[in-house]
Amino acid sequence: MNMTYYRLELRRIRRDRVTLFFTAGLPAFFYVIFGAAPDYGDEPIRDGNVAMWVMIAMAAYGAVTATTGIGGMAAVERMQGWGRQLGLTPLPDHGFVRVKAATAMTIAAVPVVLVYAIGALTGARAPWHVWVISAAVLLVGATTFALYGLGFGLAFRSESAVSAAAGSLVILSFLGNIFVPLSGWQLAVAKFTPLYGYVGLARRSLTGGNTLDAETGELTPEPLWQLLASVGFWTLAFGLVTVALVKRGRSRQ
């Protein structure tokens, strides 16, 4: 991979304080408010507690915000002429993709590390393997949302569209059982939205293959294939839309 390009990408993101705040600062703040501070935070979930459940959720929100933004900006940059500038160099397209993917993974790690660190200090509790597995799932799964951002960037071709894509994650997070634990029919609907499977897989090691119903506090078993099918379906959907948009862009030339 081109390390110079990767390093400069990280430097660009470090300069963009506002985006960094929404990516890392906001999820950390949400965790403190909804996970660490309330009394219910220490209610047990198997060998862990509710604070841990909230911590994974907020880290998930931060991670997908990061990858969505980077995917979207990659598309907008390329269409605004940077693609032509790179087209004058020996850097192949897949070289560009590799740099952006590595950047997205790195930046996705920022909110995960920050929120987990605060969680560790403020009473999130779970066996060590839950910490490791959930963090790994968060990082890998977040790449799907780079495609989501890429699609927005390709479709609307502007920086504000990328901000809108990141903003839409707030809604998807409510729908996806991230910000507020859902119950009843809301939980049933949530299973069909894009973030549900992702965060469900990340929390699986904590809940032991169950979903938490917020009303009753009950854990009900949830088959693994449902979560995998959800992530698979949305990844495929984002991928197909992206490919279609790239083709549309080519035929317009």
Partner: protein, 310 residues
Amino acid sequence: MEHCIRLRGLTKVYGSGPSAKRAVDGIDLDVRPGEIVALLGPNGAGKTTTIDIILGFIAPTAGEVSVLGRTPRQAVADGRVSAVLQTGGLLRDLTVGETVDLIASTYPAPTPAHDVLRRAGLDGLAERKVQACSGGEQQRLRFALALLADPELLLLDEPTAAMDVEARRTFWAAMAAEADAGRTIVFATHYLQEAEDFARRTVLIAGGRIVADGLTDEIRRQSSGRTVRARVAAERVGPTTAMLDARADVRSVEVDVDVDGGGRLVVETADSDAVARLLLGELGGWDLEIEPASLEHAFVRLTSNLESAS
């Protein structure tokens, strides 16, 4: 290496059916190493499309293109050809120095950054953010990026479009130094002056075709005529027209006849002074105007010459 660029029957059609647009319509062109060639033409003539094909950004609908004996994409990947593009293409939140470092990192053995910054006249600007640079400075940065590959062939697409007069002068001075170093340079422009000042050879393009290809001085002579307009009395329209038509320096005479039978003559000539003297003197004309032939006029004339010759 005999040819730097070799185009044969190059054609690019956008769209299909009745709305199809032939942006490039059968261009044959050979550029030899060390040449400096201006692609001169009005907006929409097909210059940018031709350059995009030479760089491999778009594929021609028909025809052949060979750059330094290989395909356009291969020539770019080998770092043998580079370009200064018309618009966009920079990341605004990077500094000038970072942009150079980034593009340099894509080449196996790039020219040192301080060297290209100096040659592009960007000394002392390395720390400046791209978004704080003027249009001219951004264009010189694109030029610096093009030099990183140490390319044999440099393509410039309307390189001075965003520049003021002073920036334009500085830019061409820097370019002249690169040309002296033996680089082949092909640039698109719609300023006749730029072609005159910088290129020995000019290729005139209009409507996707080459309408003239030769020494720039030659092209300029063909397009450097003036248009003289004057009114003459009704009874003198016939003899005046015949007399002007017979002159060697007159290319064409047209008459707009007024209601009263008087006429307004429109004379295209290489010697406007002599024609004006004649019209105001012995021909008894009045209301005289002289204007330089625009480049568009030159295109129209050259195009019609070409059609009548074929």
